[in-house]
Symmetry: C2
Subunit: 552 residues, 2 copies
């Protein structure tokens, strides 16, 4: 027996058609730094997306599934590219402007981008890369910024508005299979080359539906969403696509990401929702404390990227802004979990739920695997590596022009699940709590010890400024924890004391036997603990390690 349903593909084109007609009156407001922000309707975005597609095909020769890169802030023109490129059948490649120049060039070449759209203000970033880019044939510049660094560009440079000016405002969009590639992002691991994740029309469409579900962000055309999370960062968490499904209005900050203009645009454009990483919220809070503003329109903010400190969540609660945690990664499109508390819990329990990474929706199936690869129960206790499966979850990385897709064994299980590299627990009602990164977990005698848990307890000791715990090889247990400690100035706690302090909160078998005092914890360029440096120092014998005997 066959289903008698129509076989209609789930495509970005459907989002474009729907958003630019039925929600044609909804708006994208781009902050310009001037008194009046720039406002464009979704109907206009639709027309200009058609013009851009004509320009890309007819003037710049973009064809089939070729890549069009963007080096852009969040603004209306970037939104136009979000629709024009996938809907014409090509692939949008958003470039992360925070990456080191070398990595950016590597990524553009690996994706074989033919065209790059760049904001005028980012020309200083692009120009020095040009000699290293092998596939770029055209540069298109949009928005204010000095063009002179592109005077000697090895390929033609076009003005965005001039390209669009004389083009028809409709386009005969092709019928696409829903599994066609639509967009790509590279994820920059701390080791190895960046890895490309290629989203399909299907995955973007389904992800958009999820974003709009009441249990996720649940916005409607009564909302305006301030999208601080960059469009080059996992499709700005899917918001630019999702809003075309429901007519949510957009407020785009362009390059004005400092606390002061953010506070100003909230007061003046009055968004109801905002999405950004914790650092932004921390900065904004400082700004609001220094110079109070009317942010009463804002009732809901989505925080992702890293966990939100409880104090920050409470501070926004007091301002009448409900902070909602979400967890995800480039490989998960990114919506993995959203921390909306369940029904029927006390106020205190509710806060506990809001501090988790969140609850899994039906389309993101999780499992936890233990040190031996065994599947662990969802008891809120058993910690394992989180693996996920679902229609908007990556099952491979892009292999580049020559190769096949990459499926490294540390990132994808044999049966096709994504290994997130995050270690945590899942409660019986499906809430995720992350406790560590898998690479930082200590695998001791078939059990896992969380380095982060040990660090947090250590750092709560009054004499400890910083502490980093890493796994070191051990003949008997495979791995054991090494505790490296930075003491506060003038403090004198000895290792026996610190070990006893740890023992008050941590199971005895997890307590480190190896201890070292260090002057400072080595950090990465973004300020995270760089544990591979400590592991190397230990291996090279560069640390002054003391053995502390377990108390009997």
């Amino acid at each position: 027996m066959q289903s008698t349903m129509q076989d209609v593909p789930l495509t970005v084109t459907r989002l474009l058609r729907h958003g630019s007609t039925i929600h044609g009156g909804s708006t994208v407001t781009t902050w310009t730094g001037a008194a009046e922000p720039h406002v464009r309707t979704y109907a206009e975005v639709g027309e200009r997306a058609a013009q851009l597609a004509h320009a890309l095909r007819e003037d710049l020769g973009v064809d089939s599934d070729q890549r069009v890169a963007t080096l852009m802030w969040n603004n209306a023109e970037h939104l136009e590219a979000y629709f024009a490129v996938p809907c014409m059948g090509a692939v949008l490649h958003t470039l992360n402007l925070r990456l080191p120049a070398e990595q950016l060039a590597w990524i553009v070449n690996h994706a074989a981008d033919r065209v790059v759209l760049v904001n005028g203000s980012l020309i200083p970033l692009l120009a020095p890369l040009l000699p290293h880019l092998s596939s770029i044939e055209h540069i298109v510049v949009s928005g204010p910024g000095d063009r002179t660094p592109l005077a000697d560009a090895p390929v033609p440079v076009h003005e965005y508005e001039e390209l669009l000016a004389d083009k028809p405002t409709s386009y005969d969009w092709p019928e696409l299979d829903e599994r066609t590639a639509a967009a790509m992002c590279y994820t920059s691991g701390t080791t190895g080359d960046p890895k490309g994740v290629v989203y399909s029309h299907r995955s973007i469409y389904l992800h958009s539906m999820q974003v709009n579900m009441a249990q996720s962000m649940g916005l409607t055309d009564r909302d305006t969403s301030l999208v601080v999370v960059p469009q080059f960062h996992v499709n700005a968490w899917g918001l630019p696509h999702a809003v075309f499904m429901t007519g949510v209005n957009l407020l785009m900050p362009d390059r004005f990401l400092q606390p002061e203009p953010l506070a100003e645009m909230i007061e003046s454009v009055r968004p109801t929702h905002a999405a950004a990483v914790p650092t932004i919220w921390q900065g904004l809070l400082g700004e609001l404390t220094a110079k109070p503003r009317d942010i009463s329109s804002l009732t809901q903010v989505t925080i992702g990227g890293s966990a939100c400190p409880p104090s920050l969540m409470e501070a926004y609660d007091k301002l009448g802004v409900q902070v909602c945690h979400a967890w995800g990664m480039t490989e998960t499109s990114p919506l993995g979990t959203v921390a909306r508390p369940p029904a029927g819990v006390s106020e205190e329990e509710e806060l506990g739920y809001r501090l988790t990474q969140g609850r899994f929706p039906a389309s993101v199936e999780p499992r936890l695997t233990g040190p031996g690869g065994e599947i662990l129960p969802w008891d809120g206790e058993s910690a394992g590596e989180l693996e996920v499966r679902g229609p908007w979850i990556a099952g491979a990385y892009y292999g580049g022009a020559a190769g096949e897709d990459l499926r490294p064994a540390d990132k994808f299980s044999e049966d096709g699940w994504l290994k997130t590299g995050d270690v945590g627990t899942i409660s019986p009602d499906g809430y995720l709590t992350l406790t560590d990164r898998a690479k930082d977990v200590i695998k001791s005698g078939g059990e896992w010890i969380s380095s982060m848990e040990l660090e947090n307890v250590l750092m709560s000791h009054p004499d400890v400024a910083e502490a980093a715990v890493v796994a070191v090889p051990d003949d008997k247990w495979g791995e054991r924890p090494l505790a490296t400690v930075v003491l506060k100035e003038g403090a004198s706690a000895d290792f026996e004391t610190l070990r006893a302090f740890l023992g008050e909160k941590i199971a005895k078998w997890q307590l480190p036997e190896r201890w070292a005092i260090i002057p400072a914890v080595p950090k990465t360029s973004v300020g995270k603990f760089d544990k591979k440096v400590i592991r190397r120092q230990y291996a090279d014998g560069d640390l002054d390690v003391e053995q502390v005997k377990p108390q009997q």
Copy 2:
């Protein structure tokens, strides 16, 4: 370039797994008429669905895509069948217990149902059919009701609870392709045989996501939904599937569909949402007026099936219950439109929007076709037949055991769209207003005249009790309207007067020239105007038709 996304199918099985674990504590409450309703958790529903699947496969031999029919009210057991049958790979066929016995038997035979699950209270309906059922091999009875009419049944009769009792509470659900058939409903047109619509796992999954979107019903696990719309009526508008995605609690009325028990269960179980046709709401309003109850929990009701009279909507507004129109049909799964008003309109405009059939979501693409097949604009003025396209819209009818799928030209366009048979307008912002059924529209000189519009104006005349307008052949114009009028007792308005009255509101070229007084408008068994009887009476010369000259 290939997408690197996982290829994970959208299946009812995923809904079952998710709902019975992550939302395992959510509940389905079945009204029993006794003081304590029956409560079952979604975790228990999941276990019992597994037991039912074991029973169907191992005891009753259900295999591959065989059909399992249900003749059941809304209750927990019916919900169990909703998941067990599709998840094991078979097809759930919900039987409409309001159909004439003859049609029911025809439908069971056409679908070749192998097993029928029946509520004890519906045995009197099933027993007389049995001699006419050619494919049924097993009967399974659930819930209270006299079993004796089945004593002479030609096939084995089982007790539902006995079948489940000793079965394992988990089942190794097969991995299914998302386009696998999952469930079917027959739609009973006024002419011809009933037509089978076969839903796929994919269509049910996507429809569930839409139901849960904030712009549709947007419920979460904080809600309890009173599902009055029968599970045999287009999957109870998709609610039983959708709730397993989000943990919305269910309140199922079983056979207690009268106003008094409905009022009682609202007061006692305190649902936040309810879904039913207007008749139910009309009856409940009468009950609440006669005997006031605390229905303060109820804030949102979804009304579909037919349009809600404005007076009824206003009456519920006063009770603090927001009525929301939705439009759909068996062929549309059924969610076609939902009448949530847009942002930024006045209170008066808002009411206007709420009285439309609703707004189209991104996944339901509409178009209007005029009398000559031309595509009409969305200007809120141009009336045409509504056609729709989308992943949960039927593209054919089930052809039965022997034949291919049926694609009658009056139901499906050449390019695969569903012709809804409804005539109406679409506003520029995507709201549908239905004005007529396509078969009742008068096609006059390449333009359409709405019979319903003429009738509504005529029936607002103080002398007119009822009026029906039908199309009759016309040499010059193709078709012209014939107005048949039932005068109130003692009234004496003549046709010239009525025609002039019409002319105050209706364009001159639409005014009927042919008029007849009739004693009563012929009605169908469900009380609708039976216009084909009038057309036949006219054709046979049985009406006393008077020609009224157009005034110059």
